[in-house]
Symmetry: C2
Subunit: 193 residues, 2 copies
């Protein structure tokens, strides 16, 4: 594999695994089985990506392009993302079992320094019709878009070119202190980002 | 256990496990064995906290204060944090083995949408002498303090009352777009947060 390929695979494993944890906690917080199922699907994807990375790393080692230590370190880091993804699936599993959860569970997720927020974008919101990069949401509000639900479609791994539209349901993550401002922005009550 | 206790324990497990992952990746990124060792110590702490939570949940179930399903859900979520903490220790382990890592590993961590930054606070920085809450760092810059190294001491889990002092080395996490602004603030080149 080229170095670019190895880097892109490790990066994707790391990011997807962390996304899965966020989504899994969101599924419990908002009692949303759809998100929990998405975590399951991402887990399957991670499994195959992980296998691909291991295979290419060992092949490159055989070809003499990677030292044994380097190969092992790449394999170990891939394993770590896999472990985190497995944990995320277990969290989602708590949501998928059809049982009533004790309120302390939701509260403990809500009380984290970093919270996950679910908010709908209003027609009058300053966010409506903008690209994520344009509004510099993350740097200005501290809130980070984890996922967008648009109609029946889910958008994960949004980037600066992703449009925000009225009716979008944004799942954002960030410091507790940023929650109020972000809700006002999305609802169109506050016009200054 | 009281509901407050259960909630606080679940919350602490969740937050510490996520902190460990951030610290573990930082240890690789900055080739810092000290941080990696801290991850190991946090893992021991998580183990005992996790055991305590399980014990109390089962005792409460026996006392009739928790339903079986509720008890199991609490135990499962604690397990998930433990899994994430284990993954973090594995990541730290990659740093602690005395081997040269292939550059793609650091690059893949650096290229994440959320990056971990290590920056020293200058005497002239607007951050010097302020409390974290006072400067609203997270909401205004998008960057989140993961750890502070002050002289030989490490501060983890900083909150709004934590002071920032000249000479502090801040490990912060946030969107790539926030990096430049944050570095200028810490160095004292930029005075507007």
């Amino acid at each position: 594999m080229s170095e670019e390929e190895a880097e892109a695979m490790l990066l994707e494993l790391k990011e997807k695994a962390e996304l899965m944890v966020d989504l899994a906690y969101s599924s419990i917080l908002y009692d949303n089985k759809e998100i929990a199922k998405e975590v399951y699907e991402l887990e399957d994807y991670i499994d195959s990506l992980h296998y691909e990375l291991q295979k290419l790393a060992v092949e490159d080692s055989k070809k003499g392009e990677l030292e044994v230590d380097e190969t092992l370190a790449i394999i170990r880091l891939g394993n770590c993302s896999e472990l985190i993804a497995d944990a995320a699936r277990e969290i989602a599993d708590v949501e998928l079992r059809d049982i009533e959860l004790h309120p302390v569970i939701k509260e403990s997720i809500l009380e984290s320094d970093e919270v996950i927020l679910r908010v709908e974008v209003n027609e009058n919101s300053i966010l409506n019709g903008k690209k994520l990069g344009e509004v510099e949401l993350a740097t200005r509000t501290g809130m980070w878009v984890v996922a967008i639900k648009r109609g029946r479609k889910w958008i994960y791994g949004a980037n600066k070119n992703t449009d925000i539209k009225a009716g979008d349901i944004l799942f954002v993550k960030g410091p507790k202190e940023g929650v109020e401002h972000f809700i006002s922005l999305a609802r169109g009550e506050e016009k200054e980002i």
